[in-house]
C-alpha cells in the first residue's frame, strides 16, 4: 500500500515538475518579445538554418512588427498534413508558407483566411502567379516568389553534334536536334516522369504547350504530348530511366555531361554553374513554336484562421514585410526565386542578366490549380502521371493511356 501511494506521489510530483518548467519557459519567451508576444511561422525550407539569410530576414521582420518570430520548418511533403492536423487541433501557426498547389486544398478545408479578412495587399502581384492562390473569387495568400521549368542545354554536346541552339524553336526542331545528338554518340534529353506530383509538374509544359486542357486529358493535343515523350524513349533520345527519375536524379544525369538537354528548374542554377561545362537555358518550346506555359513552382505566404482574430493585424505586418515590393528583392534573392511582381523582376534582371530567360518563363507560366480547377487539380494530376507512365513504359499506347487517365480523372472529380 505504502509503495503505491509513493508511486502516485512520484507521478504527481513529476507532473508538477513538468508543468512548472513549461510555465517558466513560456513566461520567459513572452518577456523576451517585449510585450508583443510570439508569432509562429511555418515554412518548408529546412535547408536554411539559424545562421541563414532567410532566418535573419524573418527575425528582422519580427522585430519590425514588435514581436518575436518562432520559426518551424518542415519538409515540403510533410507540411500539408502538419497544417491540416494543426488546424484540426486548433493550433495553426500565425503565418504559413506553403507550396502553391496546396493553397486551394487548405482553403477548401477552411484553414486559411482570405485577403478580405487579413487585409493583405496583392494588387502588385502578377495575375498568372496569384491565380494559384485563388478560388471562388477569393485570394488566400501572397506568392513569396516563383520558379518554373525550362530546358538547360550543354553547349559542348550540341557543338559536337552540329546543332545550332537557335534552330530549336518547336517540337519538330527539338526532336531533330535530339536525333543529331544521338547520331553523334551522345545522349539526347533527360527529364522526370516519376509516378508522383513531380512527374505531372515536368509533363505539364509539354501538355499545355500542345494546347491541351487539363479538363480533357485525352484530347488529340494531350495525346500528342505523351506521344512526343514516348517516341523519344522508343528512339533512344531519352533514357528509359526517366520513368523513375526524380528531378534531382534527372539533374545528376545531365550533370554527368553526356546529355544535350535537361528539363529542370530555376533552383538548379547554382548547380549548373558548378557542373564544369558550358551550359545555356531556353524556355520549353510549344508544339508549334513559342514558349510553352510551364507550371509555376514556389510558395504562398498565408495567414491561417485563428480563434483570436486580433492576431491578424500583426501577422499581416509580418507577411507584408516579407512580400512588399521593397523587401521582395531581398526575399527572392535569399530563396533564389523569381519575384512575383514586374517591378522587382526588372530589378532582378538588372542585377543578374542570367535570370532574363527565367523571368520570361515565369511570365508565360501558369498555376497548376489555376483555371478555377482548385482542389480538382490533384484528382486530375494523379491519373495524368499514371497515364504518362503507362505510355512511357509501353504498357499502353499514348491514346489508350490518356483515355484511361481521362475516365479515371472524370470519375474522381465528380
Amino acid at each position: 500500500m505504502a509503495g503505491v501511494s509513493l508511486a502516485v506521489l512520484a507521478t504527481a510530483g513529476g507532473l508538477v515538475a513538468c508543468s512548472s518548467t513549461s510555465g517558466s519557459e513560456s513566461s520567459s519567451s513572452a518577456s523576451q518579445a517585449a510585450g508583443g508576444g510570439s508569432y509562429a511561422v511555418w515554412d518548408p525550407y529546412p535547408q536554411y538554418d539559424k545562421s541563414s539569410e532567410w532566418v535573419k530576414l524573418l527575425e528582422a521582420c519580427g522585430t519590425q512588427a514588435g514581436v518575436k518570430v518562432e520559426r518551424t520548418s518542415y519538409d515540403t511533403s510533410d507540411l500539408t498534413n502538419k497544417a491540416l492536423l494543426a488546424a484540426q487541433q486548433g493550433n495553426s501557426p500565425d503565418v504559413l508558407i506553403v507550396d502553391n498547389p496546396v493553397v486551394s486544398t487548405l482553403a477548401e478545408a477552411g484553414v486559411l483566411t482570405t485577403t478580405e479578412e487579413n487585409k493583405l495587399d496583392v494588387s502588385a502581384i502578377a495575375p498568372n502567379l496569384l491565380a494559384a492562390g485563388q478560388s471562388g473569387g477569393k485570394t488566400y495568400g501572397v506568392p513569396i516568389g516563383a520558379n518554373t521549368l525550362a530546358l538547360y542545354y550543354n553547349k559542348g554536346v550540341l557543338d559536337k553534334a552540329g546543332v545550332d541552339i537557335a534552330s530549336v524553336k518547336d517540337w519538330t526542331s527539338l526532336t531533330a536536334a535530339l536525333e543529331k545528338v544521338k547520331g553523334a554518340g551522345k545522349k539526347g534529353i533527360t527529364f522526370s516522369a516519376i509516378g508522383t506530383e513531380e512527374g505531372s509538374f515536368q509533363f505539364l509544359p509539354w501538355f499545355w504547350g500542345s494546347g491541351a486542357q487539363l479538363t480533357k486529358l485525352d484530347s488529340a493535343e494531350g495525346v500528342s504530348a505523351v506521344a512526343l515523350w514516348s517516341d523519344w524513349l522508343k528512339k533512344g533520345y531519352a533514357p528509359n530511366s526517366v520513368i523513375n527519375n526524380t528531378q534531382t536524379t534527372s539533374w545528376q544525369e545531365f550533370a554527368s555531361g553526356d546529355f544535350a538537354f535537361a528539363e529542370n528548374g530555376t533552383w538548379q542554377l547554382a548547380n549548373a554553374k558548378k557542373a564544369g561545362f558550358e551550359y545555356g537555358i531556353i524556355p520549353v518550346p510549344g508544339k508549334a513554336g513559342g514558349t510553352a506555359p510551364a507550371p509555376t513552382g514556389g510558395e504562398f505566404v498565408s495567414i491561417p484562421v485563428q480563434q483570436d482574430t486580433a492576431r491578424y493585424a500583426t501577422s499581416q505586418k509580418l507577411v507584408t514585410c516579407l512580400t512588399s515590393p521593397d523587401n521582395s528583392l531581398t526575399t527572392t534573392t535569399t530563396l533564389s526565386y523569381i519575384a512575383p511582381t514586374e517591378a522587382v523582376q526588372a530589378k532582378q534582371v538588372a542585377a543578374t542578366p542570367d535570370l532574363k530567360v527565367w523571368v520570361d518563363a515565369v511570365k508565360a507560366a501558369k498555376g497548376r490549380t489555376s483555371d478555377d480547377l482548385g482542389t480538382k487539380y490533384p484528382k486530375i494530376s494523379e491519373p495524368m502521371w499514371g497515364g504518362v507512365q503507362a505510355a512511357l513504359s509501353g504498357s499502353k499506347s499514348p491514346q489508350e493511356a490518356m483515355a484511361a487517365a481521362q475516365s479515371a480523372a472524370a470519375s474522381a472529380v465528380q
Binding site: 491540416l84 486544398t105 478545408a109 520513368i243 509501353g394
Partner: protein, 297 residues
Amino acid sequence: MAARTRSGQWAAWAFLAPVAVYLLVFYAYPLYRNVELSLRNYTVRSFVQGHAPFTGFANYIKIFGDATFGPALWHTVVFTVVSLAFQFGIGLALAVFFSRNFRLSATLRALFLVPWLLPLIVSASTWSWMLNSDSGVINVVLGAFGIDPVNWLTSPDWSLWSVTIANIWIGIPFNLVVLYSGLQGISPAIYEAAALDGAGGWQRFWKVTFPLLRPVSAITLLLGLVYTLKVFDLIWIMTKGGPSGSSTTFATWSYRLGFGNLVPSFGPGAAVGNLLIVMALIFGLIYIRVQRRQAHT
C-alpha cells in the same frame, strides 16, 4: 484479513495499470481510430472541422470496385509468397550450412547479417542504383555476358520482380538467425542415432531436422508474413509502386491514398490499411490453431 486482500488487489491493479494504459493508448485507440476513419467520409474540410458523415462500408465498396484493387491484391500475394518462399528456403539452407561450425563460420554468419542491419533507406536506394536501366551495375554485368539490358524498375513486366528480389535479400538474415538458433536446439544425439541407423545426409535433413524444426519454422514464417505484407518503404523508394501501378501492393496503395496526393483521401486509405490488418490477423489465427493442435497430439 479481508482488508489485506483488498489492498493486495489494489496493488495488483496498480501493477497492471501501466501495461493496460500502454496497450490502450498505443494499440487499442489507434486501431479504433483507423476503423472509424474507414467508416466515415472524410474530406479535407471535415477532417479539420469535424462532423465527417458516417457512411458505413462505402469506403470499402469504393476500394473493392477500384481498378487498382485486383492488381494490388495480386501483387501483394505474389510479393509475399515469393519473398517468403525464397527467404525461408535460402535462410534454412544457410542455417544448416553454418550449423556445422567450421572455421570462420561465425565471421561469415555475421557478414550475412549486414542486410538486416542496414537502414532500409540505404539498402533500397542502393538496390535502385544497381538496378538503374542505363547506369546500373547489374545491366553492365549482364552486358558483359552479352545479355540485353533489362529495364528492372521502369518496365511493368519487371518492377514487381525487382522489388521482390531486393526484399528477399533483406529477409534472408532474419530467417537465417532464427532457424540457426532453432537448429541449436536439436540434440546431436538424435542425429547420431539416425546416422547409426544408416540415414544419409538427405534423410537426416528430411526425417530429423525438418520435423523437429517445425515449431520454429512456423513462427519464422508467420513473422515473415506479417513483416512482408506491410513492406512499404522498400517499394516506395525503389519504384513508388510504378510504373503505372505495376508494383503497387496494398501497403503502397494505402499510403498513396492517404498521403501521396495533394488532396488526401483518408477514408479509403484507412480501409486498405484495415484489409492488411485483417489479412495478417487471419494468418495469426491459423498459426495459433495449428500450434494448439500440435500441443494436443
